[in-house]
Amino acid sequence: MVIEVVGEAEPSTSRSAEREGVGERRSRVRRRTRERFVVLAGQLLVIGLLVLAMQLVNANFGGLTMPAPGSVLRQLGHLVRDGVLGRALAETLTVFGIGYGVSLASGVLLGMVVGGFRTIGRIWEPFINALNATPRVAFIPLIIVWFGLFVESKVIVAWLSAFVPILINTADGIQNADQDLIEMAKALGTPRRTLFWRVLVPAALPSILTGVRVGAALAILGTIVAELYTAQAGLGGLLAEAGNTFQMAEYFAVVIVLAALGTAVSALLRMLERRFAAWRVDWREGS
């Protein structure tokens, strides 16, 4: 009798939960839209304040201390029209693309090896940590000696910048995969290879994707640093040139482009993350 009552209660509660769900969903969408609007307005306000501050500093201390926002914009226009910016951007994106691409492949692959084989992981751990703790700039003189001043050495710096965090995040993700899920799979008699590809790697995906995103920002950084310290080229080259000759308007124009580039790459990767690890995003945001 007790059970009968429970059996009846089940469908009706789920039905009412569904009905509730529709209304709740609508109000949640409304809340999200409002939140998005507030965030966007806040961000525009911050930009406005920055521009205002620039203008004030410029008015009081002169164009060398701080260029006027208007002249920065004009300079940006010049750079675009001359094709200087386009060429620099292409150079930078080439170095970044190759360096980051190679670091993705090598970082994820070696991270899987280091994370998947305990002994190998333990052998390499201190060396990986040492590499991680060393500023990548420290390697630039050596890289110049080995690979010269041009694209090759820049690609190597970009690769080295992103490779380590991607490797570490991949290895960590696999090593810290949910023990309960591993035990469940082992109880089913899952062979090692299946366990690795079907449980450990998917469980590590959120961590791997974090490494991929962090790596992208660091690869951009590495690219710009390489362009500053080796043969000047790309956006880093423009930055150095403008900075060294105290053309502050041009300098700020390049900084804005760099910031926009970093933001765009991050946003793109976040979008990919949502797409390929939707279960994780839902699981974090839902309930």
Binding site: I3, V6, G7, D180, K186, A187, L188, R280, D282, W283
Partner: protein, 307 residues
Amino acid sequence: MRQQEPPVAVVEAARGGEAQGAPSGRPQIEVQGVSRWFKGGQVHALDRITFDVAAGEFVSVVGPSGCGKTTLLRVIDGLIKPDAGRVLIAGHPPVPGPQMGFVFQQARLLPWRTVRANVEFPLFVQGVPADERRERAMNVLATVGLQAFANAYPHELSGGMQQRVGLARAFAVDPAVLLMDEPFGALDAMTRQFMRLELLRLWARLRTAVVFVTHDIDEAILLSNRIVVLRPRPGQVDEIVRVDLPEDRWEGDVEGLQRFRELHDHLWHRIRSMVGQSAEWATSAQGGGGRGGEPAPGDVRPGPGGS
């Protein structure tokens, strides 16, 4: 370990009794003198555990925390090896695999797989072709009433529904043995009732040998043919009680039956006396209570089946 080791007190109340559905004579699960230590011998988890489970029999394991219930299940599954004694499944040493269904306290579903893909997972491990996998998964999901949620992800389900998927996954491969580690312990009371019914329905159809670990005495009485009572530190068989209630006990109001209350009181008394025995518990228990029926070590108490 610091306690003196009392002789194993086993009251095999069901001995000679007809265990349902055991045609071959050989028990499906034989646990023979299993001992297991942890931390290099510091922790004695299991001490000479011996009991059988006939084919198609439902056996619960109850006992206070620290009596090695979970360890016992892992030994039966073959996930860990005993330090002494042995386990036989249909006469062979256990190998973790799809023939051994395992249901955990948390459903342990793969969060990146849909409900259906989770139920398919053991079939995938077994190498069952994709279309057959799909068909079998959908069939099992239908029996637990979740076919409408086949394409949902685990996080979209309630705890009770997740555990139903866990049950479906265990039953998807027609296991010879079903091991359950407090599977309903994390659910609310109402869902738990419903899940018990669900489990009994599935079990009645498939007649798998079940070892069901729980700390809920009523649950053990409601579900089982026999109940193995363990005492803690080290985990030893205290007694084995046959539940002589009607087979279709979930149809009526069993909890109101005189026999149910007797079994409940008996089991509760046993377990409370163990808790009273432990120095660790005696000091923390309020007013030094719970020592009422402290039995002498090795006190053999006849099970209700024999009384």
